[in-house]
């Protein structure tokens, strides 16, 4: 994991990128949203306070997935009609990145499958429709319209211009799932699987008054 330091264009404090491919981060001192351009850092706004949340995960939480260690370096919080969920941006020790999602304490780990999204149109997708991905049948379970209600830390893309997003959730007969993100020009595919809390062996989690981890 390479670490590059520059100064925050808002307050001058050093800004470190824990993950070399991060595009956007939040200055931990002045809360500026800092975007990395080819040459330097650019302040594009300020991070809003995150609404109250009760995820045990926070920036800096460490864990393992399939025997690979990771650290939580960023967060996206989404809301939709039925509630909210978190997508934690995780950086693996081997340089890869992924997402740890937490929806009402149901956890899943997924990875972007660059350039492998099926050629489908969001408007043509119907619930219960089957899509074949990696030679496995995935069934479209829900089409979710979501908004950011907050973000923090290092992210692999800029959050600006992504005010409302359309996601298609796809499930298999086992714990695997896929998400098609239709917020950009072309759909982006993420695949992963649901995981048990214990399986992640998380450390540096939040503490809840009256509870032990």
């Amino acid at each position: 994991m390479s670490e590059r330091a520059s100064n925050c264009p808002g307050c001058g404090a050093p800004v470190r990128f824990a993950w070399s491919s991060a595009v956007q981060t939040a200055c931990p001192y002045c809360r500026a949203i800092v975007v990395r351009t080819d040459v330097d850092l650019e302040k594009v706004g300020e991070v809003a306070d995150l609404p109250p949340d009760a995820s045990p995960i926070q920036l800096g939480t460490a864990g393992t997935f399939d025997n690979r260690g990771f650290v939580v370096i960023g967060c996206l919080r989404y809301t939709w009609a039925q509630g909210a969920w978190n997508e934690w941006h995780i950086a693996f020790n081997d340089g890869a990145n992924g997402w740890l999602s937490d929806a009402q304490l149901t956890y899943a780990v997924s990875f972007e499958r660059e350039g492998q999204a099926p050629n489908v149109d969001a408007s043509s997708l119907q619930p219960n429709q089957t899509l074949r991905i990696d030679n496995i049948d995935y069934v479209v379970t829900t089409l979710t319209r979501a908004r950011y209600t907050g973000f923090d830390g290092e992210l692999p893309f800029r959050t600006a211009g992504r005010e409302e997003m359309l996601f298609a959730d796809l499930r298999t007969t086992d714990a695997r799932f896929a998400t098609l993100d239709f917020s950009g020009d072309t759909p982006v595919l993420y695949t992963g699987r649901e995981v048990e809390y214990d399986e992640l062996k998380l450390t540096n989690v939040r503490q809840f008054e009256g509870w032990k981890q």
Binding site: R31, A54, L59, T141, R193, F208, G210, W211, K212
Partner: protein, 429 residues
């Protein structure tokens, strides 16, 4: 911009309370920021706690009030994880004007998430949401769903209405809201599919004993009494039937060994083995030979088998046993012939010392030998072995009775099923 910390506080403060917007009563919240809906225990208002103004979603009538059998706030251990009971919901289904109600308890752990306990007629299930989507298919005339390598058979479908709510839930919940559900069973497992018309949610549960629930919550007293058979209640019988067949197999083996030993020893339990020379009878003197060797009989219920083996051209012999002391002669009846051996049988002789007496009958055959050497054996008679098969029939009774009871259990289970097929669903007995 506040300049505050960007990372949320590492410690999340515990139970908080809000004032009921209807009656002002205190509504305690245990589910941290997960709680979306909470009910006021005083006035039974259901409050949307995610709305800043604490909007009242609905209200239950006081006469709808029900009591959870485990109090809200109780903590229990399930699968090594501590959960707190934070929500209680009563769901009701009407069938032909009859209301069937069951309890659903929401369990919460801030790290491991949510689980449910359902309670109907004293039968409990520990339930969780299912990650995947089961594969639906038909097995004969019955709908089935497969997940995790297990096939669940459709048991019932219906419409359930929320008739009472207490505590808090991480989703919107309202008085009278309806869901369509399907239950599929593979005891002890149960798969449930629910829909409010938009999307399907699947959950998977496992039958859990009331006593185990009580123990998990460290509750005093006894859990609610059990009535009837639950759709996914594991049948106690297949294991018993298997056990009984195993016992049967063991008994047959022991029985067989006993019989083999019995036959072996009885075969070798020869009381007398001797030989004698018998003169051919003349007209004047009947040739009678009594063996010098004798044998003892201790009691009178021994069956005896006397084998007399002579030369091929041997004429007929009359054989009797002589009680040496009493000089009683017991004539033996010819029973069987096995090659050159004549077999005689006798039973119930009194105790005593016996010799064998042989008397050749007159033979008209001119080729009859003048003297015959015969071997004599007196054995205890094992008798027939037909009774062995008969006794095995008796050993068959317990496993057959248990198998019938197992079948009855499955019939009673499936008698409650509303699914199309009514054939017995049990495959494992």
């Amino acid at each position: 911009m506040s300049g505050g910390p960007i990372v949320e506080p590492a410690l999340v403060r515990g139970a908080r309370a809000i004032a009921c917007p209807n009656c002002g009563g205190t509504v305690e919240l245990r589910g941290f920021a997960h709680t979306r809906t909470a009910s006021c225990i005083q006035c039974l208002s259901v409050i949307d706690v995610s709305s800043p103004e604490l909007r009242i979603l609905s209200r239950f009538d006081e006469k709808m009030r029900q009591r959870p059998v485990v109090p809200l706030g109780t903590r229990g251990h399930f699968g090594g994880v501590t959960y707190e009971l934070i929500g209680f919901q009563v769901r009701t289904q009407w069938e032909d004007g009859v209301a069937y109600s069951w309890h659903e308890y929401l369990l919460f752990n801030p790290y491991h998430g949510f689980r449910y306990l359902t309670l109907y007629n004293g039968h409990w299930n520990l339930v969780r949401n299912l990650a995947g989507v089961p594969v639906l298919s038909m097995q004969g005339t019955r709908r089935v769903a497969t997940t995790g390598g297990v096939t669940y058979q459709h048991f019932q479908a219906g419409e359930a209405q929320t008739t009472f709510v207490m505590g808090e839930f991480p989703w919107a919940i309202e008085a009278g809201e309806k869901v369509q559900y399907d239950d599929l069973v593979a005891p002890p497992g149960i798969l449930s599919r629910e829909t409010n018309g938009n999307e399907f949610t699947w959950s998977i549960g496992e039958y859990i004993d009331g006593a185990a629930v009580w123990q998990a919550f460290s509750m005093q007293g006894a859990p609610p009494a059990v009535y009837g058979i639950a759709p996914n209640q594991p049948s106690p019988y297949p294991a018993k039937v298997r056990g009984m067949w195993l016992d049967f197999a063991k008994l047959v083996m022991v029985w067989g060994a006993l019989i083999a030993a019995f036959l072996f020893f009885s075969h070798h339990d020869t009381l007398l083995s001797t030989h004698a020379s018998v003169d051919a009878p003349s007209d004047a003197v009947p040739a009678v030979v009594t063996t010098q060797s004798t044998f003892q009989l201790k009691d009178n219920d021994d069956k005896l088998k006397i084998e007399v083996r002579g030369p091929e051209e041997m004429g007929p012999l009359a054989v009797s046993l002589v009680d040496v002391a009493q000089q009683h002669v017991y004539s033996l009846e010819f029973d069987d012939q096995d090659g050159r051996t004549d077999v005689f049988r006798v039973a119930s002789l009194p105790a005593g010392t016996y010799a064998v007496r042989l008397q050749p009958e007159r033979s008209s055959s001119p080729t009859a030998p003048t003297q015959m050497d015969v071997d004599i054996k007196v054995k205890r008679d094992a008798g027939g072995i037909g009774w062995i098969g008969f006794s095995i029939l008796f050993l068959l009774i317990p496993p057959i009775v248990m198998a019938l009871r197992a079948s009855t259990f499955e019939s009673r289970r499936w008698a409650q099923s509303s699914s199309a097929a009514t054939a017995s669903g049990g495959d494992d007995e």
